[in-house]
């Protein structure tokens, strides 16, 4: 019931990156990728329940039945996307994160790495935001989420102990920062125009001043 790889499928590997630069008919016939991409787009446009499986098939350029060769169910599909993108996000943010740096630099890195992900994968970011905490996410997907949350909570608590962040419930500060980030991202999605580097830096400076002690 919580299987990531469908028994019938024979995926080359569970890859986490790959914007698929291949030719029209990619090597090995990457239907799986096409389905994941199409479903991501549609779930962002119409939501999970608002999207019909045959629509996904159409956009992916495959038959409706083919989806079930790769995913056990619509629910398994949305969970696969969620985990894939959440892990991708975690990679972009955490890989080689300079833990030893001072809090100011830590914060800048965090913000700019999130900005990098949100700029290069806007749809994926909105997808994660939209499906956060939904009923149809399984335990595995929630676990991925919680791991990141715990990590950040630790960082915030330590920085507070050192007097570098404002005191207050860590959840509140984190909610504030993440919320602001989402708000900024959406404000540019709504006018369909990517933020430039200067805007991201401005926003970063703003939110740093919000949380610094």
């Amino acid at each position: 019931m919580a299987s990531e790889a469908h028994p019938k499928a024979r995926p080359s590997q569970t890859r986490l990156s790959s914007p698929a630069i291949g030719t029209k008919r990619a090597a090995g016939g990457d239907k799986r990728e096409a389905i994941l991409d199409a479903a991501l787009e549609l779930f962002v446009e119409r939501g999970f329940f608002g999207t019909a499986v045959p629509e996904i098939a159409d956009r992916a350029g495959v038959g409706a039945g083919t989806i079930y060769r790769y995913f056990e169910s619509k629910e398994a599909l949305v969970n696969a996307i969620y985990r894939q993108q959440k892990l991708h996000f975690a990679n972009v943010v955490l890989d080689g994160f300079p833990r030893a740096a001072n809090t100011r630099e830590l914060f800048r890195q965090l913000w700019m790495r999130m900005a990098k992900f949100a700029t290069e994968n806007t749809n994926a970011f909105i997808f994660l935001e939209l499906h956060h905490h939904q009923r149809y996410l399984d335990d595995e997907s929630r676990a991925v989420e919680n791991r990141m949350l715990d990590l950040f909570t630790g960082v915030v608590t330590q920085a507070q102990a050192r007097g570098e962040l404002k005191l207050g419930p860590p959840r509140l500060l984190m909610g504030l920062v993440m919320g602001a980030f989402v708000g900024v991202t959406r404000s540019c999605v709504e006018i369909d125009q990517a933020l430039d580097s200067a805007d991201w830096k401005l926003a970063e400076q703003c939110i740093w001043e919000a949380v610094r002690s």
Copy 2:
């Protein structure tokens, strides 16, 4: 197609407030209210497409057909809720708003009024957040949204001109503030515990420091 009041219905009035303190069987038999309340709850819990009309009827304690005496369709129902709550929100935030006050006070008022609404109508606030910009909202509903947006844009631009807010795209600053507010609200919904007044004040101070020049 964009009718607010359904022809067959005979609503006493289009009321915007009224938490219904009446007896069990309210005066006039307020089925309409019961339907609106039940639908609001369910749309927050499961989303628009995730909620079946008969479920709404069950929770409202009416027959499925009754819903169609008051609303033309499921879509008309969600639009009615959206407008009702958006206008309620606008009332709470804007009624007697001290426009002449200085920017710091203006901001404090804005934040605390939003906090008041979000505390007293948490479900409604989440509903508005969730259904913001959805496909099934009609032009009228969008107009309500845009009116508020324009108003705030004006306030921000003026405050920037007076050198009291950081310079930058008004949309970005507003997205940041609203996003942070939503983030703070959610952070407490997720642990199912209302924020106390001190927490709201802390958050307010944080975000003021984020946007002040």
